[in-house]
């Protein structure tokens, strides 16, 4: 990568490859698919990846710090579902939002605490809390799978906001991407995330508050999930909790990993998320236009994700002598 940000073709890396594939795919779809290269469709592409991209931003921050958050989708769907359920049962808006915000912060803190202070691997912590959040909210707090947005509520109105004929979530995505970019690139704490992800022990030795920052990352990820959930509810006028059992979670990981954010931490940035989101957005849109059934789309996505992981494994191979024990 040179300073301008264009790929350096002599040293091809994953981001470069994916970017090239995305452009090729875009060109092929533009030539081959009728109705692809229209303004409406392009807006639809960007809109379709906005929520995914927002979630991927949160995931990216966690992954750069050598973690992973498998509870993101559960937090996204269940927090909003609970919020809407509270509204539907007559709780005042402010109080309901405070409840939900507190719940989201609590899960983020729990994730962070268990990872940072109890030294439990992040994948297990977040797998467990994701399962717990879904199970607890579904069984104790809400009564059916899908919860509608009450009529006239600001979440519903949010879904209708257009600016230059572009839906609001695209701007939210762009704004969040810019904020995360500034945070990662220009703040001290943003740089510390890279240090901690690259070598947690060394980071701790030079005085980086590694553990509190781990907690911070999981809290950030949970808050980002809440925002993504609100946007989803805004555009669909309801939230369906079955989304937790869908492949959305893997799409998020897919966007981050395929864009070139190494799972071993310390590398990548917002640009990688954008590249990954572009490829997935174009791919999903093209598949929808060709009219591939959803089930086959899952198959194709899984195949691509597998390919991305294999490439990641080849580019960053594990060394038998230095690999950490128990690093699964």
């Amino acid at each position: 990568m040179n300073a301008i940000g264009w790929p350096n073709w002599r040293r091809l890396n994953q981001e470069g490859i994916v970017f090239a594939i995305a452009i090729l795919l875009f060109a092929a779809a533009a030539l081959g698919l009728p109705g692809f290269l229209t303004a409406d469709n392009l807006v639809a592409i960007v809109r379709s990846v906005s929520v995914l991209g927002i979630l991927a931003l949160g995931m990216a921050v966690v992954i750069i710090g050598r973690g992973i958050d498998l509870s993101a989708v559960a937090i996204m769907a269940m927090s909003v579902a609970w919020y809407l359920q509270l509204l539907n049962t007559g709780t005042s808006d402010g109080l309901a939002f405070v409840y939900v915000l507190a719940g989201v912060l609590a899960i983020g803190l729990l994730n962070g605490f268990l990872v940072a202070y109890a030294d439990v691997p992040a994948i297990f912590v977040t797998l467990a809390t994701g399962s717990f959040v879904f199970g607890y909210v579904r069984s104790q707090l809400i009564t059916q799978d899908a919860v509608p947005v009450p009529g006239g509520h600001w979440v519903e109105l949010l879904g209708g906001v257009r600016f230059l004929d572009i839906p609001i979530e695209v701007f939210v995505f762009a704004g969040l991407a810019f904020l995360v970019f500034l945070f990662l690139r220009y703040t001290k704490w943003g740089r510390f995330i890279y240090f901690a992800g690259d070598n947690p022990v060394a980071a701790r030795n030079i005085g980086v508050p590694v553990r509190p920052m781990l907690v911070l990352r999981y809290v950030l990820s949970a808050l980002v999930a809440l925002i993504a959930g609100l946007l989803t509810a805004a555009s669909l006028h309801s939230i369906n909790t079955r989304i937790v059992n869908s492949t959305l979670l893997y799409d998020i990981v897919l966007v981050a990993v395929i864009g070139g954010i190494g799972l071993s931490g310390g590398r990548g940035g917002v640009r990688n998320v954008l590249v990954g989101a572009a490829l997935i957005g174009i791919l999903l849109n093209a598949m929808t236009i060709i009219d591939i059934p959803l089930l086959y789309q899952n198959l194709i996505k899984a195949a691509i994700l597998l390919g991305a992981i294999i490439v990641d494994g080849i580019i960053n191979p594990r060394d038998e002598q230095t690999a950490q024990q128990g690093d699964i």
Partner: protein, 707 residues
């Protein structure tokens, strides 16, 4: 004794504190937590749900348990090898579909359906294994992706063929039997799970491939460096997991006579939770099939119990989430802190009031009075040796000693300038003795009793004695064989100083001061080892009396010497002959004038004697201070004592300069010279004894003149 001391003596000598540490050293404590959880789960759900333990109810739930256990066994093996397999649910579902497809749609025999299911599982497992094992991808994400892939494939296939399966007329008695029948009261799936569990358990604990799996999981790098084919081993664990999941899939195909969209759903998180709740460690190496099965029963009882209690959608996930989080956290914390806890609680001091002693201070006028004679000793092997605990000379005047490096070194007569490694043992050779045939018998620290022939063949004579029923630590193993001597009939009497500490931790035993030292005898005629005496505070040197009818042995931390009778009216009993010495006795050997030489490895100090009367203080010390700052007995000063047959002290030699022989663990008289060794010394000393018989040698004293 004051009331306070009496209380302390009762508290610390009667309450068996040391058992806590000993229990924690046992590997079966790992099993205790999941086992208690199992009992609690069964108890709670058995009492809330009416008819939980009824036969029909059990049969239905055990059928499901059989299928689930098969999957968990596969998951356990993968986790033991340091990986994880999240695709078991997909393999399970796809295998189920394969069997259903072959049987109901192709209308082939049930055995062909079984073959199809197994093939599916093996191929899927091989793909996982190739990706994780050979391409070395991260197990969690890779199997997560293959799980999505398999699930998507299954969903496509099920929607495409569900109607055809419904319409199929195929049926088979075998299928019905596998699905619904029982054999000796148990369903086929339970039988299969039991058989597979036993086979897997034996394979893991008693076969080379199983050990390889545990080695790779325990330390991948070490396994790689030891030449184990790590990648192939990892590959095989995934193939095995695929195999197990496919049997489970075949069984559910028989039970439900079909495959639905819910087949194998959430199975991966259930299996993972089961393995972790059972105590199979994440990251590999620790765990067993039994643990996996315990976890399987706990998880299935909980999830099924909640469904039967009528809790709604999502409860399962909630409970699984809590179980997984709690179990993983406990597992990680336990693994991390167990050795810390063990280090803290293992030392369990006891109360002892040492008797008043005579002074050994120079100029005190007692028979124990130390002088400076040993500082004049010549040195042998200065700077070449490390830790000559015992020294001995053979009939040709060559000098032998053990070293810290696990060797027996020989110095050549007459000037002892040249040396060679006589034999490599591997452990730290402590006590030495020559038998009648000229074999060198040695007590090797942490290893046992060894014999080295004049041709240098090293042979193990004994490494264990009878296990006592009441001991929690394995007291059959010889932990710290310390000194030996040989009776005229060839039997070898030797000491094992402590049951509680490894040989290199011998100083810790002094802080605990628990009486666990033993006197043992090895009989070369039948190769047996027997425990003669038990319950001494660090048994140490052994020496046969000149007449061969009794032996002397030292009890170091109590500063006593005992005589054990081999024959005569008091045969088989011991009596104390020297008590309350000012030094800690070590090896004892014969002197030319009919008396005995005894080494002092250290000197008593008023402060340590006082601390022995304050076990609470020593306990706090071992828990709160780093080991460098503990109060140890003084082992920087010692000496050599000569005592007579009755236990009277004849004379005492010392090195007040502290340069040559500050502490002494052994000395051997030979042709008018005394050869002096010390376990912390870097030399052997040779001291000319005034007026000693210049022709007396130890081998001649034991076995007569030169043959």
């Amino acid at each position: 004794m004051t009331f306070r001391e009496r209380l302390q003596a009762w508290r610390y000598n009667l309450v068996p504190d040391h058992l806590v540490g000993e229990i924690l050293t046992k590997r079966w404590t790992d099993n205790a937590i999941p086992f208690l959880a199992l009992v609690a789960t069964l108890g709670v759900f058995g009492s809330i749900i009416p008819g939980f333990f009824k036969l029909t109810s059990l049969q239905e739930s055990t059928r499901q348990l059989g299928e689930f256990s098969l999957v968990v066994i596969g998951m356990t093996v993968v986790m033991l090898g340091g990986g994880i397999d999240l695709s078991v649910g997909s393999i399970f579902a796809l295998s189920c579909f394969s069997a259903v497809y072959v049987f109901f749609i192709l209308e082939q025999s049930i055995w062909l359906a079984l073959a199809a299911a197994l093939c599916t599982g093996l191929i899927f497992g091989a793909i996982n294994g190739y990706l994780v094992g050979f391409l070395r991808l991260r197990a969690f994400l890779t199997t997560l992706v293959t799980f999505i892939f398999g699930r998507a494939l299954f969903d496509i296939l099920v929607t495409a063929y569900a109607a055809d399966v419904q319409l199929s007329q195929a049926s088979s008695d075998v299928l019905d039997f596998i699905g619904d029948g029982t054999f000796w009261g148990l369903s086929v799936s339970v039988w299969l799970a039991i058989i597979l569990a036993i086979v897997t358990h034996i394979a893991l604990t008693r076969s080379r491939p199983g050990w390889h799996v545990l080695a790779v999981g325990g330390s991948r790098r070490s396994a790689h460096n030891a030449g184990i084919r790590v990648r192939r081993t990892v590959f095989m664990t995934y193939v095995f997991s695929g195999f197990c999941a496919s049997i489970g899939g075949f069984l559910i195909a028989c039970r439900l006579s079909g495959a639905g969209p819910g087949t194998g759903l959430n199975l991966e998180i259930m299996a993972l939770t089961a393995a972790v709740v059972g105590g199979v460690s994440l990251g590999g190496g620790r765990g067993s099939v039994v643990k996996g099965l315990m976890g399987a029963i706990i998880v299935l009882t909980m999830t099924n119990g909640l469904i039967r209690l009528g809790y709604g959608t999502g409860t399962n996930q909630m409970v699984l989430g809590i179980l997984l989080a709690v179990a993983v956290t406990i597992d990680i914390r336990w693994l991390k802190n167990r050795h810390k806890v063990l280090n803290e609680v293992y030392v369990a001091p006891v109360y002892l009031k040492m008797g008043e002693t005579q002074s050994a201070a120079p100029g005190s006028g007692t028979s124990y009075e130390l002088d400076n004679r040993l500082s004049a000793a010549d040195h042998i092997g200065l700077g070449e040796l490390e830790g000559p605990e015992d020294v001995i000379l053979d009939r040709d005047d060559h000098l032998y000693c053990g070293t810290r490096h696990g060797e027996i070194v020989r110095f050549f007569a007459p000037d002892y300038k040249r040396s060679e490694v006589f034999a490599h043992i591997g452990g730290f050779p402590l006590g030495l003795a020559f038998d009648k045939e000229g074999n060198l018998i040695s007590c090797v620290g942490a290893m046992g009793l060894y014999s080295v022939s004049p041709e240098r063949d090293v042979k193990r004579l004994s490494a264990e004695t009878a296990r006592s029923w009441t001991s929690i630590v394995d007291d059959a193993r010889l932990r710290d064989p310390n000194d030996c001597d040989i009776a005229p009939d060839g039997r070898i009497y030797f000491t094992d100083s402590t049951k509680r500490y490894e040989a290199h931790d011998w100083a810790l035993d002094s802080i605990e001061n628990r009486a666990t030292g033993r006197l043992l005898v090895y009989d070369p005629k039948d190769g047996s080892t027997k425990t003669l005496l038990d319950g001494y505070r660090y048994t140490n040197g052994v020496c046969m009396a000149h007449d061969g009818k009794s032996l002397f042995f030292a009890e170091s931390w109590a500063c006593r010497v005992h005589r054990y009778w081999l024959e005569g009216p008091k045969a088989g009993t011991a009596e104390c002959v020297i008590r309350d010495m000012p030094g800690y006795p070590d090896n004892i050997n014969r002197a030319s004038d009919g008396n005995y030489w005894m080494a002092w490895l250290g000197m008593r100090t008023p402060s340590f004697d006082l601390s022995l009367r304050h076990p609470d203080m020593r306990k706090r010390m071992t828990r709160r201070l780093p080991q460098d700052e503990w109060l140890f007995p003084n082992i920087n000063t010692g000496g050599v004592v000569k005592f007579n047959e009755k236990g009277g002290i004849v004379e005492t030699l010392g090195d007040l300069s502290g340069n040559a022989h500050p502490m002494v663990t052994s000395m051997r008289e030979h042709r008018g010279y005394l050869f002096v060794g010390g376990i912390l010394n870097n030399r052997i000393g040779r001291y000319k004894i005034e007026g000693a018989d210049p022709d007396w040698t130890s081998p001649a004293s034991y076995w007569g003149g030169k043959a």
